[in-house]
Each structure stands twice: as C-alpha cells, then as structure tokens.
Amino acid sequence: METIKKKRTGPVIFSEYKRGDAITKALSMTREDILFELKDSKLKGRGGAGFPTSTKWMLTAAAKSNEKFLVCNADEGEPGTFKDRVLLMEYPELVFDGMVVGGYTIGAQKGIVYLRGEYEYLLKPLEDYLEVMRKDNLLGKNILGKKDFSFEIEVFLGSGAYVCGEETALIESLEGHRGEPRNRPPYPINTGYLGRPTSVNNVETLAAVSHIVMKGGSWFAKFGTDKSSGSKLFSVSGDCEKPGVYELPWGIKISELLEIVGAKNTKAVQIGGASGHCVPKSQFNRTMAYEDVATGGSVMVFNESRDMLHVLKNFMEFFVDESCGQCTPCRMGNVKLLEGVEMIEKGEYTFAHINKLKDLGRTMQLASKCGLGQSSPNPFISILDNFKDEIFNAANGGRNGK
C-alpha cells in the first residue's frame, strides 16, 4: 500500500494545518466558545445525513452523565467512498486533533475510532501515531497541562459489515452484539455506547473541526452555499481519467466536477454511493449540496458504454448481502427488488410488477428501521426511472435492445 503523502490542495480540509494546533487553541477556549464557532461554521455531518455538528455536540455536552464517549465513524463502507482512508492515512493529525477537541467540548473521556475491517492495514500506523500523540501529551492525562481534561483514543477494528456504518449498529457492535441498528429514540447523544451519551461523528467532520477551531466558524462558512457550508471531499471513481479524492466547495455543479476529473462521454453519475441517486446527463447542471444532490462524497461515473441495469444489479446484490436482516422491509424487500432486476435482465417482467416493486421501494424508504433499508431502494427507483429508455423501451420490446 502506498503511504507517501501525496501533494493535495484544497480550500479547507487540505489547507495548511500543523499537528496539535487545534488542541492547543481549543484548550484555551471555553467549551461554549467552541460550540459557538461550530454553530457559526454551520458544519453538518459529513457522513451523508447532514445533522448539524454543533447541535449534536451541544446535546451530548448537555446530557447528564459522568461518562461520555466520542466515536469517530471510520466504517467507510459505502461503495465508491474512500475519502476517510485518505484522511486517516495522510492526515491523521486532522482527525485525531478533531477528536480531542470534540472530547473536550462534549466532556468525554474516551474516543473510539471504529475502523472498518477492510482497512486493517491502517491499524498499525494509526496506533503508532496515537503513541506519538501520547508522548507529546496531546492525549492522556491533563492534556497539554490542562487540568481535569484527560482523553484517550483507541482504535476498534470492525469485522466486515456495511450496516455498522449506521451509528446505532456501530455502537451495538462496539458492545459486542450483532451489528443491528437500534430503535431511535433514544438517540446516542443520550443513550449511546454502554448506555452513555455518545457523539458519533464522521472522519471528515472531525477533520473539518480542527480547521474550524483554528480559522474560525465564519471563515469556514464563507465556502460553499448558504445551507451547505464549507467544502466536501469527493471520492471519484469509475469512467474518468483522474479518479481520486477531491476537495471542492459545496454547490459545485456535477458537470464542473466531471470536467475536473476528466470524465468523457458520461451517461450517468451515481452520487452518494450505492444508496444514493443516479443522476442522468440531463441533470448534470444540478449542484452538490445538502439542498440539492446531497452526498457523503461518493461519485461514480458511468460513460456511454455502461449497462445501467448491470450497475443496478450490482447495487442490489450489495444490499441483499449487507442488510442486517432484522426488519422485514429491508431483509425481504431488497431480495424482491433484486429479483425484479433479474426479471428485467431475462426479459421476463411485466410493467405492472415493476411498478409494484417501485411502490414496495417507497415503503422500504418509509418503513425500514434504519438508513440502510430506507435508502437501498434509491438506485432501483432512480435508475429505472431515469434510464427507462435504455432499459425498457428498446424496439423489440426486450431489454436494452438485446
């Protein structure tokens, strides 16, 4: 695995930052001041759901308990996403400093990095890095001489379950159970890991916090749009010349992004990973933002040669594999949707049945227990709607003219 730090540039995340700075500065501030800066920054969770970070931390800080936890969600399992891998490999200082700041702000004594099992090769370097932090008193007891502030970070290795990216499933697995999402409420902010208030934050969110502490909330809010402040790391893969991680301000048009990454003859872009939406060419002028096309950062590019039904099948197979199997709509619904795709593939479908399945998909979006089942029908609905000409309306009545 390549470990040399690439030269990356970007307005926020990849801007200049010196290790430990955010911790030093944060410890000189009051907890309230940090929360105000975060509020000014309008930072929203970078995992995809977009919950305001300042609110989450404020609620966790306000929860009554003498034990609290901060969990860094590095269970980056969404197909097409790899920004966290880059951050942890190349910018661990941003992430860990952000965690210490978070621990200080919410009053947690322990931070846990939930690292996905697929990134096991990162475990050793991260633990080495934490050791260095301990030596420099950036971790441990009375950090940087700040009395009554002690914070430890440990890395927990996941075991290969996409659903553990869902925060309550993640906590369940930390506690030694099957990674099955919990009923919400209660939310982790008051009943989280071991029943204690717990803030679960995405790797990128924590990295952003380090910069916000250093440069101020209003500086951060200058980037992006009104409702989507700051910048975003996009993980770009698929049919383009320059796949990789890009830091771009929110509000960028899809077409602009495609140009930057050198995508040609693009037919469609899957935004937000397998559980996201498939945007056809006609909508490439839409923008990436919480208010338009929201995303945790995955951008998969498909050129004219790609068979969209094949893409859809790949996604649905993924969800059938990765559903936790706990609730009915997700456990069985995904299987029905995959069967539907196979029917289309074989040309053994009726439109009536496909419409029934889309309807089922809408129920899954509403009635599933967690985000996995609520979003897994997205590609089914968006690909079949946006590419119906390709998939259904070929001259011979079969599929895709085949």
């Binding site: 996403t81 030694g176 159970h177 893969s237 991680v245 996604f315």
Partner: protein
Amino acid sequence: MLVVEKNALSEEIESYVNKYGNDRSALLMILHEIQKKHRHISEFAQQEVARLLNIHPVEVFSVISFFAFLNSNPKGRNLVRICQTISCDMKGKSGLVKAIERELGIEMGGTTKDNKFTVEYANCLGLCDMGPAMAINDQVFLQLTPEKAVELLGKVK
C-alpha cells in the same frame, strides 16, 4: 481435539480476556484475536469465550455469523478477497476472477485442495479509485490485471 490443544486454546483465550476484560463489549476484540491467529473460531473456542464472558454460546455464534470477517469453519491458509463492487467491477473484476478461478481450479467461495487459498468476493474494499482491487490476507493490491493477480498469488507461501 486433543486435551492438550484444548488447554492451550483455553489459556490463549483467557489471556485475551485478561487483556480486554470480561465485559461483553470485549467480545469482538477477543474474537478478532482468535480469528487472526487460527483463521477461524472453533466450536470449542466459541464456548470458551462464552464461558469467560458469562454469555451464552449461541450469542457468540450469532455474532460470528453476522460478520463477514469472522468464521466458524476453517478456511484456506491464505484468504484472497476480490472487490466486487461496481467501481472495481467496471475496471475488470470479472477478468481477475476468471483468471484466478482458472489458475487455482476452484470457484469463488472455494478453497484449494492443498488448503493454501480460499477465494471470496468482498463488498467494496474502499479502493475504488485504484480498482480492480484484491486483498490477500491483510495486504491490498491495486490496479490489477489478471496476469498481475495470478503472479501475486504465485508469490504467496
């Protein structure tokens, strides 16, 4: 299983329990260690873990069966996982799979007769910008061609 082996395994698991504690929240850490060392978690090991954490054996079995990287039955000495998610798929995953299947004479999910390899699909290794990707044990390899993949397997002991 011989009594000596059982005792050794029990001692090993006890050492993990001493390291991580006997709370249920230590379960996955302990299972990881066993999995790493033995490449599977045997029936006996599961019951020992259950005994030491004061939980039921079926709870341990249930957790193991839930996670893709934990297994109850032994696999080959080397675990080869090929990413099957769409980005790697588009970059030629099927070519990789066919070559490896041909070369090892087994199908995906299978184990070679000499027990040297088990090959499986993986769901997104998080290397979508450098696909197709393949992991051999905890090492990952990127931008593979069928030829390169087979060559890599040849280097494995």
